[in-house]
Symmetry: C4
Subunit: 182 residues, 4 copies
């Protein structure tokens, strides 16, 4: 699982003394680890929720899921970048932009899965994808923000975890209401 590789985003300091200070200076690496891990977790939980609602898999859906997996498996790379350059204290913007690009690709692929399954009528119940679509706009906005202010971008990425982490709660209720109506 890609999430377990995120641990390599926190580099083992190679110091002759005062390891404690080196570890404290690494705080952006810990933050990057937490943001990426919780992002992958939320994507996984939401993906599980969406897939439970699928009637039947066809080949394009399998490959769209594979594409999603490809972007999720790539998340450690921009996480390593964020951790390294926020600790180093330069080029934070470039790292945050790269992070945003990978996240935007992940969100767009997830959106494409929802769209495809809706169009081909593969969902047991249709559900309101308004909240999902907003996310598809917020990640590119975060990416653009990263050009000007890397810390602001990081706040947006962290906020997205909370935003999408709350999303399934909404959907679950819809599923429950839909089941009740049947």
């Amino acid at each position: 699982m890609a999430a377990t590789l995120l641990v390599f985003s926190v580099q083992v300091p190679d110091v002759k003394s005062d390891l404690a200070r080196a570890l404290l200076n690494d705080w952006p690496a810990y933050a990057a680890y937490v943001i990426s891990f919780t992002t992958i977790l939320v994507v996984w939980v939401n993906h599980h929720g969406v897939m439970e609602n699928i009637k039947t898999y066809d080949r394009p859906l399998v490959y769209l899921n594979g594409l999603l997996l490809m972007f999720i498996a790539a998340i450690p790379f921009p996480t390593f970048l964020l951790a390294k350059y926020f600790v180093a204290g330069h080029d934070e913007s470039a790292a945050a932009v790269e992070y945003g690009i990978v996240m935007t690709c992940t969100a767009l692929t997830f959106g494409a899965i929802n769209l495809y399954a809706t169009r081909r009528n593969l969902f047991h119940i249709s559900f309101n994808q308004f909240y999902f679509l907003i996310g598809n706009f917020l990640y590119p906005i975060g990416t653009v923000a990263a050009f000007f202010n890397a810390r602001l971008a990081l706040l947006i990425y962290a906020a997205m975890v909370i935003y999408y982490g709350g999303y399934p709660l909404v959907r679950e209720e819809q599923v429950r209401r839909a089941s009740a109506r049947r």
Copy 2:
């Protein structure tokens, strides 16, 4: 699985000769590997035991489990630290403190899962969490001990594996007694 990444805690010595001596000098790295691997193993076995006793999962429980996974997936990092700085022979305390912090977070999250499931009445049978709570105190005690004596802290962390490794045996009997009563 995070546990397989622990193998990187033992660095491949880069020597021109006398590899045998270099390998013998690496013993603290082997010890760190064993302590962390068995810790993850015991957490996994106990987590499995607790989850078998769960009636139904709700979203907060899923995210609490995700948080537990996040701390477990972080365990390789302080293990690398322990291995590196015990072999190097300096800054052992800082490494052991970091290790203790990650372990304390893991234990507290596990405790929170138990507490939440008990409060929301999600367990099939309620069970005595006295032994579990003690562990939630012993890890911070080990962390404080690490400030003064890194080796003592390591002994406490190793002892915790045996302590929690014995825990499910107790619970299993309770489950059996409870099943018998039904």
Copy 3:
């Protein structure tokens, strides 16, 4: 899973400034990641499709599958080579040849699985392996091409993903027709 390790094919640039340019220069590494990830994905989907059609596993089939796994698990290595030497701008041919050798071994092992299962009558339905056999010739052709033109070889490897990615669609129809006839 081997695919998640592919993320290490994109090296975190170690620069003092202008990270953006370093990241843009890394485009061959991204290409290598995408080709290898999608290759593993397509092998996995096709393997799943073939194995669903198996009546019973015997020991040689288990070990042939293990051999396939061994070559798939090796894919990150030539991917790292491709990424490193295409970014460095020299020895691209040697890297592309090594990549082709691993791919040829993977394709041959998959072919051997099909052949063995057909001979021992382990498939529920026999299926036309013409498309599969062509792939077993195209990978060695790509490998030979790599000696003369590394970029052409990469194009062939990328084309193979599309070629084999379309393959199961054909087979699925055959399975459906065969089921209909029963």
Copy 4:
């Protein structure tokens, strides 16, 4: 899975030119990869075969299995050693001894699982463990041989893969005969 990490045993050469020669010189690394991967594969297949024959799991059996997992997960380390020092051309004996120690621990733990399950009458059918016991002697013999001749030790380790790879075939027949008698 530990086996996928074995790919890191083959180091990506860092050369200015003539990558082809560097790759050819790496042959001992490929050999180490193949020996370790097939060893893990055979252990996994045999372990699966033995566990299918288990009536019920108790806690000691779970922890014995965990111990086995700990030694298997450690296999990449001596594999990295073998690959590095056989390529470097010195200290091969120390690397091969370390490899043999990890293998001996793995074999002994597997033996202990068999012994424990037999003693506690946890197997559906008792089976002849004569072949298994021989392996428990051959790994330490390989380890002792490594002190004098590293290449001979490697041959013994490779032969063990074939030896234990053939083992389940024997057992399977026994299981079939036993089932037939029931």
